[in-house]
């Protein structure tokens, strides 16, 4: 059983921040699908949980010119099923639909996933691969400055992710090798093309969490086709290694996944 705590359902951003400040060791909770399992295993023991999903500023999915703006409290299922997302960035909708299972997608949120920055989570690759902007209760943060290593982000104590603005690319693709038990990424690559610029973000593989594969970006900017990646390899030294996959296998999957994401824009490719 979890250690006890006091629960507070916040109605406004100010209410949430005040409730966080007034406790000794508060934690925000959105879908609870990373935090509650951690608390059940007694690996986290906040004395107050401040629930964010009823705050109106954290809701909504809308196209705003050349950006797609998604509220932090939108669920994975909501993003996957949104016609606005499917139209603007179909690979992002497909990525959301590949997270966990239906029950997880009904509760888990984009803001929670991004704030958590699990090295095997899906969303960080789309946020970094699309060069999104993370809007918080305090400021705006570029994706390139946001992810700071496993389970670490640029967020300050008490700062709340409110929404994420994704530039709409000319095309984007996502290829993922799933852990067969959890469906988290064993390695996955998000590739986005904006005119002559290409961004490649890899999740699930790196021992510092999500990262950009710059050599692949340069090769694809010169020639946007899978063959442009021939001979390029990710260094296994920087890869995670565990019972599910060795560092060498993960490095191999980075290259295969990136080629498949280039070959299959607008959708999810599952590596099997």
């Amino acid at each position: 059983m979890m250690y006890d705590f006091a629960y507070h359902r916040a109605r406004t951003l100010d209410d949430a921040r005040a409730a966080f400040r007034d406790a000794d060791d508060a934690a925000y909770v959105s879908g609870g699908h990373s935090l509650l399992p951690t608390m059940k295993n007694r690996l986290a023991a906040p004395d107050r949980l401040v629930h964010l999903t009823a705050i109106p500023e954290l809701r909504g999915i809308a196209r705003d010119g050349d950006r797609l703006v998604i509220g932090a409290a939108e669920t994975h299922a909501g993003v996957a099923a949104s016609p606005v997302v499917q139209e603007a960035i179909p690979a992002l909708a497909a990525l959301a639909g590949s997270i966990g299972d239906p029950q997880v997608r009904h509760r888990g949120t984009m803001g929670g996933s991004v704030a958590n920055n699990d090295p095997a989570a899906d969303y960080p690759s789309a946020v970094l691969g699309l060069g999104a902007t993370i809007h918080t209760s305090e400021r705006e943060i570029d994706a390139d400055d946001f992810f700071a290593g496993m389970f670490t982000t640029a967020l300050d104590e008490g700062e709340i992710v409110t929404r994420i603005a994704f530039p709409v690319p000319d095309s984007a693709g996502y290829a993922k090798m799933r852990n067969p038990a959890s469906r988290y990424a064993l390695a996955a690559s998000f590739v986005a093309r904006f005119g002559g610029d290409v961004r490649v973000a890899i999740t699930g593989a790196g021992s510092d969490g999500v990262f950009r594969w710059h050599e692949a970006e340069e090769a694809l900017a010169a020639r946007f086709e899978p063959g442009a990646l021939d001979g390029l390899a990710v260094d296994p030294d920087g890869m995670m290694s565990d019972m599910h996959a060795s560092a060498a296998f993960r490095a191999h999957l980075c290259a295969v996944g990136t080629a498949r994401a280039v070959a299959n824009p607008g959708r999810l490719t599952l590596l099997a």
């Binding site: 629960y7 359902r9 609870g32 699908h33 509650l36 399992p37 295993n41 239906p102 029950q103 509760r107």
Partner: protein, 159 residues
């Protein structure tokens, strides 16, 4: 402690619970609805699946206080008297259970698939949509058959 009121299977049910109480413990301990099972402590098995405001969720990973004011449906709410819900009947007919431990969660997940996708579903969709429910006995084959048959019965009933 918090006072929680949740509409369970059509009736408002209230209890005063510790804030850390999981929805599944509210159902099992406070209300005595022990049809909803707990099969793991990693949020993976789906034995605890209930339908919360129209969506299948793992009730071991939702706090009772988070469900305040919501509607919850559990396995106890499916049958009408002695008449089984079509998904329950299909599970019997197709031997979709052996030990039965996963069955309540499996059936609630299946009922929610039919609610969200309608009866025009195929095997690939059912397998994908049941990924959050683990069964250690059946090998899934008869479970998938049962869900597809329940969908077909629903189609026939609608004609």
């Amino acid at each position: 402690m918090s006072d929680v009121t949740i509409n369970v299977n059509g009736t408002d049910r209230s209890a005063t619970v510790e804030d850390r109480t999981l929805l599944v413990d509210f159902l099992r301990e406070a209300l005595g609805l022990t049809g909803t099972h707990v099969g793991c402590d990693t949020s993976q098995c789906g034995a605890c699946t209930v339908i919360l405001d129209g969506k299948a969720v793992k009730s071991c990973t939702v706090l009772a206080v988070m469900a305040e004011g919501s509607e919850v449906r559990t396995i106890e709410g499916l049958a009408e008297g002695d008449e089984l819900h079509p998904v329950q009947a299909a599970f019997c007919k197709h031997h979709a259970l052996q030990c039965g431990f996963c069955t309540p969660g499996m059936i609630m997940a299946a009922v929610n698939i039919l609610e969200r996708h309608g009866p025009d579903i195929d095997e690939a969709l059912v397998r994908h949509q049941l990924e959050g429910n683990l069964c250690r006995c059946t090998g899934y084959h008869n479970i998938v058959k049962a869900v597809l048959d329940a969908a077909q019965q629903t189609r026939i009933a609608a004609e």
